[in-house]
Amino acid sequence: MTTAVTTQQATVSGADTGAGDAPPPRATRRGGRGIADSAPRWQIFLPLGLYLLFTLIPFYWMLLFALRPAGSTSLVPWPATTAHFDKVWNDLGFAIFFRNSLLVGVASLIMTTVVALAGGYALARFKFRGRNGFLLALLCSQFIPGALMLVPLFEIFRNLNLVNSLWSVVIAETVFQLPLSLILISGFIRNVPGELEEAAWVDGCGRFRAFCAVVLPLLRPGLIAVGSFAFVHSWNHFLFALMFLSSQEKYTIPVGLNYTIGAESVDLGALAAGGVVAAVPVVIVFAFIQKWLIAGFSAGAVKG
């Protein structure tokens, strides 16, 4: 049984890569002149370079203000100082905010992915009354801004004694990210041929075992896409953390960043240093998962 399942898995893995990260077929690359072959290199690299410059300037601005001393008007961060980082990390409490953001991000990632996986499987594999209506409702829920739900959510969490608990933020983030995640995951699962699962059943697997052994490994790009989206969204989200938490020890990084903005002045050095602290995990996450993320989104988009 194990052998059969492994063989099937290998076969489908190979097939699936075509949708995501596999190179284009050799014939296409050699036959005919593609865009890359026909255009002079500068026509590709110049716009890309300009776009890159446009994208990187805000990052440079952030690093410049974070590293140069207060009051300096130099256009290069030299002599560099770590005073702003010291201030945000130790005085403004970013060490605590960072830990809280990490907890919220990871917990939202896990909850969103697990629930979306279960719900997405049901949507992809079962036909039940109201399924299309449910999918439509999921889509429509994307048009509801989070701010509209603040008061009812606040009351629910207050009655559940969850106000000022990180769980309130985790639950709210999960709830708001589930619709899109469900739709994406169900699209990925639909792309996995049902026959693969049926073969596993024939070999004696239950539905759950077959799902874990056959379907789950093929969903890796989709899971990474959905998980990273959930993490980054929770990491960056400001509103729920501000509204549901009432203690400095519970606040997350986006709330902390606003601490640097006063009524009449802005501490630009601290704001920029806080921005760097906030951006680093996101940049690292994207650097590691970039390949899977693109594969995941393109597969979901084309075949969903």
Binding site: P152, R158, L242, S247, I261
Partner: protein, 448 residues
């Protein structure tokens, strides 16, 4: 039933759906609770109270000092300090009012006081002040502003702690070099704006606020120049009176003539940063930017004076700036302890400490003679002008729920049109006046 049905799959969808539905209904039912306006209780004057700082982060260190001192003197009271970023404090209060999650004490500015009073979130503090050591100690101008901003002519809904005031900041070094007098009259102001400008060498006499916050600042300039001392004349605003329109024309006429063209999008941050890093002679902004100017130029090179009187010998007509205060929330279950904290924070020593850190005008009159005020000339000048019996404070209608919408979203783009010459000062003033008149009529209707 399924596209891919497991041979042993049981059908259990109905019980599961019923459980899910019941859970959803239960959660929804819990959301139908109280709002934040229940009566609360005096309590025993001890225990824990929660305090929301409406300018969290920036003012956190000074509040922590005050709280530590309070807890030392009142060992049976613990203060839970919650710093709320100023940019979102109003939303946080609104959500907490609707969701019954308000603290015991909170920092409240007159710019949103009316909104909170209208929702029944705050307890009046007039009687408590009368029975406390604060009686007679609070700045009359600030008390009047808080009373007017609450929308109730009788009751005070916060204890004023500090105020800001519009100032003219000027570069003493540039004025001395050009042989100009300080801008202590409107004639001196416009002369200096003109003479300090050398656009081709990127030197300008003035920087104007064309972006966020431009309308309130323009109103200050209009009333200070016109000498009109009240915002309302009966049910109609005076802001489109001919004297105000003339003042607006002169003020807006400075754009590009004596200011950088980039000023069109200036909010306070850009404006203050521009003044601090460039060759600009004057800036109109409140006391809050004093520390930034000192950092940029040193105390000796920058001066700050209240907006001049409309004419020599005439009283100053200063538009009211938002006054910060401490509010006691109606739903507090420990009002006695909460009031002790408010009383302590507004006392001479603590109020002086807080305002020294913030660079604002203290509400406690006893702080007027403190050494730091004598060292900070602009603060002293602002405090003297505010407490001068001759000075007329034009109470801007912060109590109108639409104040922010009108003065920001509705009219800021139009102010940019005035700067660009695409709209006349008269049309702008008429439109703004129309909106305020309408909002005032609606508000009066709601008060009936």
């Amino acid at each position: 039933m399924t596209t891919s049905q497991h041979p042993r799959a049981p059908r259990r969808t109905r019980p599961a759906a019923a459980v899910a539905l019941a859970a959803a209904l239960a959660l929804t039912a819990t959301a139908c609770g109280d709002d934040g306006t229940q009566a609360g209780a005096e309590g025993e004057g001890k225990g824990t109270i929660e305090f929301w700082d409406n300018n969290g982060g920036v003012r956190t260190p000074v509040w922590k000092k005050i709280i530590a001192e309070f807890e030392k003197q009142n060992p049976d009271i613990d203060v839970k300090y919650v710093p709320v970023p100023i940019t979102e404090v109003q939303s946080k209060y609104d959500t907490a009012i609707a969701g019954d999650g308000l603290p015991d004490v909170g920092g409240v500015s007159t710019s949103y006081l009316a909104n909170m009073v209208a929702q029944g979130a705050l307890d009046p503090v007039t009687d408590r002040i009368a029975d406390s050591p604060l009686k007679g100690k609070l700045s009359k101008g600030m008390v009047d502003s808080v009373r007017a901003a609450g929308g109730d002519d009788k009751e005070l809904f916060s204890v004023p702690t500090s105020a800001n005031q519009g100032m003219l900041w000027y570069r003493k070094d540039l004025f001395d070099k050009a042989g100009l007098d300080a801008p202590d009259s409107w004639e001196n102001f416009y002369t200096a704006a003109d003479e300090l400008t050398e656009a081709d060498r990127n030197k300008f006499g003035f920087t104007i606020r064309g972006g966020a916050g431009s309308v309130a600042q323009a109103l200050e300039m209009m009333y200070a120049q016109s000498g009109i001392d009240a915002f309302w004349d009966g049910d109609k605003t005076t802001l489109n009176a001919p004297e105000n329109v003339e003042a607006l024309e002169k003020y807006a006429g400075l754009y590009k003539k004596s200011t950088p063209s980039a000023d069109l999008n200036n909010d306070f941050t850009k404006m203050v940063a521009q003044f601090g890093s460039g060759e600009i002679g004057m800036l109109q902004h409140n006391l809050g930017s004093y520390t930034d100017h000192v950092k940029a130029f040193g105390k000796e090179k920058v001066g700050g004076i209240p907006l001049p009187a409309s004419a020599e010998g005439a009283p100053r007509t200063l538009a009211s700036n938002p006054v910060d205060g401490l509010g006691l929330f109606r739903g507090s279950e420990n009002k006695a302890a909460a009031w002790k904290f408010i009383e302590f924070a507004a006392s001479h020593e603590m109020n002086s400490l807080w305002n020294e850190e913030a660079g604002s005008i203290p509400a406690n009159n006893d702080a007027a003679d403190d050494a730091w005020i004598n060292d900070a000339e602009p603060v002293k000048a602002a405090m003297e002008s505010l407490n001068d019996p001759e000075t007329k404070i034009v109470q801007l209608p912060y109590y109108l729920p639409d104040w922010n919408n009108i003065s920001k979203a509705d009219m800021e783009p139009d102010f940019q049109k005035v700067l660009l010459g695409q709209m006349t000062a008269q049309d702008f003033a008429d439109k703004l006046a129309g909106l305020f008149n309408e909002a005032q009529a609606e508000w009066k209707e709601q008060q009936k």
